[in-house]
């Protein structure tokens, strides 16, 4: 599904990612963990196509073709979804407009007919229920005045509606209380599917109590410092990120 080879990325001339190699097959859930500033969010943004990141080397192949050549909307239409760490507020645009516009653009790109208003509403209502969200949120401006938890749920709602092939969830667990975390985690779990790859970008292990990943990768100073099974997350929880950096000297050799 997704193959990242030797990816180097700079922001304002400063290297942030220093050679990422990562392969994520369909049907799997991968967690990318790491301390603040390790490059997790940069990786997520680069995959979604945000401006301001210069890819200086390497490539990213998505379903066999060059992902980096596509505009953000082309990636979305091809089935890439990024749940934002800080969902953007858009005053004046009702949530339901965005959902409908997004869904129809993705459907159109896949050669599907646009949904009519009735079918659309029925679909949305079902997904709302899944996320335990109030229908009133549909008619409020996108993310404006939403609580932190509502914003994150709204991201997962969008994912549930758009049914992407590759979902990248950037710190979706941050700022959630335990009840909201469970709802969000259930929402994500319900999306696990043999055709879909999910990337969980997270600082803490706690989301992984609810969604057990197939693989865990630890990012440090712009590189994958360690990869392993779900037990790696538990170990990190016990020892902290210092443990990874301490262990870097021998396997990684030279510094960044």
């Amino acid at each position: 599904m997704l193959e990242i080879r030797n990816l180097h990325v700079s922001v304002d001339g400063k290297p942030v990612l220093n050679g990422i190699d990562l392969t994520i097959p369909a049907g799997e859930v991968h967690a990318i963990m790491g301390p603040n500033g390790s490059g997790k969010s940069t990786l997520a943004y680069v995959l979604a196509g945000r401006e301001g990141y210069q890819v200086t080397a390497g490539e990213v192949r998505y379903q066999g073709s060059d992902l980096l050549a596509l505009t953000p909307e082309a990636r979305a239409r091809a089935g890439v979804f990024l749940a934002f760490q800080y969902p953007v507020e858009i005053p004046g645009v009702a949530n339901i407009y965005l959902l409908k516009a997004a869904l129809n653009s993705v459907r159109k790109a896949s050669g599907l007919a646009e949904l009519d208003a009735m079918d659309f509403l029925a679909l949305i209502r079902a997904k709302l229920k899944l996320m335990g969200m109030d229908e009133a949120l549909l008619y409020r401006p996108v993310n404006q005045g939403f609580s932190g938890g509502e914003k994150k749920r709204n991201e997962i709602l969008q994912m549930a509606v758009l049914e992407p092939k590759l979902a990248i969830l950037d710190e979706t667990d941050s700022g959630l209380d335990i009840d909201a975390l469970k709802v969000v985690a259930d929402g994500i779990s319900s999306m696990r599917d043999a055709q879909r790859a999910i990337v969980l970008v997270t600082h803490y292990q706690r989301l992984l109590d609810y969604i057990v990943p197939d693989r865990v990768h630890v990012l440090s100073q712009g590189r994958i410092a360690r990869s392993g099974g779900p037990e790696l997350a538990k170990e990190l929880e016990r020892h902290g990120y210092g443990w990874i950096d301490a262990g870097r000297s021998s396997p990684m050799g030279e510094g960044p």
Binding site: P72, E73, F81, P91, G92, A101, S105
Partner: protein
């Protein structure tokens, strides 16, 4: 004043003054004549005057519009029906004259008097005397004087104490004949604790030049709640000069909305005096300009006494080679303690030829006040564009949607559903096709 301009207006006055409504009443004639003298003395405003620094009315001065003594409606009921807002009480004016046939006012609740100025002058002019004789005050402009000199029609609305009028009143001003100037004056008195909504709607039916010069005076007694919304869709070549002057009594509440969509050269002055303690006003506005339009809003809120509140929210989207001007003044007089005034003006420039001149302004003479303003000129937020694109919208659609949303923020503040829907439809109509499909 240019002698040719003076001669033109004096000749027009001589030609039609005796045929204007109320001409048979001595004091009306005298008031008009005095106003003409004042107009000749004042002349049209010039750019040397601070309040007209960015707006030249030379094209109006050079246009020699003629005046029409009476109405000759060339407007059909079907045209009116298309513009009427559902559920509104409708008064239709064509080329500045009330047309009763097109204004089927049936049942008005007790305590509401709603007539045209022409009718009031014909039947019972006396109550208008003070208003019209004092119409041209000390700070008058040439336009106000011209309006008083050639006053032909307008609306008189009286609300008795405690009267609550649920249905909005739509004053539909249609311009059908090119080359003429119309001078209307709306006079509104809202009694203690009364409540009503007036929507002043100006529509140009053709695409020729003409001049609308319209004044609306509103006085709110204590506890009155009044809404005045103005929807301006004049023709692209039209001149539109409007003044809204409001005096608020104690604990009264006033909501103004000014939506400027049309007109070639537009100037709107909104002046609110918070004369009674605890009065509150909200001024909302939206200007959408394109082509070679020039749209100028000047607002002034005068906190004359303590505990007044004013909140102002104006936005503009400028395209083509258009130009918009915004000047929002807030005055807090000595002793108007505990005044609360805030003002926001945000502008979006879409084209390289567009220009905005904005000037929020505070003049504060009291210390226990909460006053502030913010003004911005900028572009769409790249974060928002990226967010929408990451959800599959292309760049043009994302921009179109965000531009729509920028304007919709003002429209959403309108509590009247019929007006809101109309505004949304108009806004949608101006959006790119990609966005129309989304909305």
């Amino acid at each position: 004043m240019n002698p040719e301009v003076r001669d033109h207006y004096q000749a027009e006055f001589a030609r039609i003054a005796t045929r204007l409504p109320g001409a048979e009443v001595a004091w009306v004639r005298a008031a008009r004549a005095a106003a003409l003298v004042q107009f000749v003395a004042l002349g049209f405003p010039t750019r040397q005057q601070e309040g007209w620094k960015y707006t030249s009315v030379t094209p109006i001065e050079n246009s020699r519009f003629s005046l029409r003594p009476s109405a000759a409606p060339r407007v059909t009921a079907a045209q009116v029906a298309e513009l009427a807002l559902p559920g509104a009480l409708l008064l239709v004016f064509v080329d500045g004259r009330h047309v009763p046939e097109l204004s089927p006012l049936d049942l008005l609740p007790e305590g509401v008097r709603l007539t045209s100025v022409a009718e009031a002058l014909a039947r019972d002019p006396e109550p208008l005397r003070m208003l019209l004789e004092g119409a041209v005050g000390l700070e008058a402009t040439g336009f106000a004087a011209l309006n008083a000199a050639f006053l032909a029609d307008g609306t008189c609305l009286y609300l008795a104490e405690d009267v609550v009028l649920d249905a909005p009143i739509q004053l539909l001003f249609l311009a059908s004949e090119p080359g003429i100037a119309t001078h209307c004056h709306n006079l509104i008195r809202a009694g203690t604790r009364s409540s009503a909504v007036v929507i002043e709607h100006h529509v140009g039916l053709g695409d020729e030049a003409y001049c609308t010069n319209c004044i609306t005076d509103i006085a709110l007694a204590s506890g009155a709640q009044f809404t005045h919304h103005k929807l301006q869709q004049e023709s692209a070549k039209a001149f539109h000069i409007a003044a809204v002057r409001v005096k608020q009594g104690q604990d009264s509440r006033f909501h103004s909305g000014s939506f400027a969509l049309g007109g070639g050269l537009v100037r709107v002055d909104i002046h609110v005096s918070l004369d009674g303690e605890g009065a509150e006003c909200v001024l909302d506005g939206l200007y959408l300009t394109s082509g070679r339009q020039h749209v100028d809003h000047h607002t002034c809120v005068d906190h004359a006494v303590p505990r007044g509140t004013s909140h102002e929210f104006y936005k503009g989207i400028l395209d083509g080679a258009s130009r918009a001007v915004f000047n929002g003044k807030v005055i807090v007089r000595p002793d108007a303690q505990q005044s609360d005034a805030f003002q926001t003006n945000c502008n979006l420039l879409l084209s390289e030829k567009a220009e905005i001149d904005t000037k929020p302004q505070l003049e504060i003479f009291a210390d226990d006040v909460k006053c502030g303003h913010g003004a911005t000129v900028g572009q769409l937020d790249p974060e928002q564009i990226f967010y929408l694109r990451s959800r599959g919208l292309d760049d043009a659609a994302a921009r179109g949607l965000l531009t729509f949303a920028f304007a919709a923020e003002v429209i959403e503040r309108m509590p009247q559903a019929a007006l809101k829907q109309r505004l949304e439809a108009l806004l949608r109509g101006r959006s790119p096709d990609a966005v129309k499909e989304l909305l």
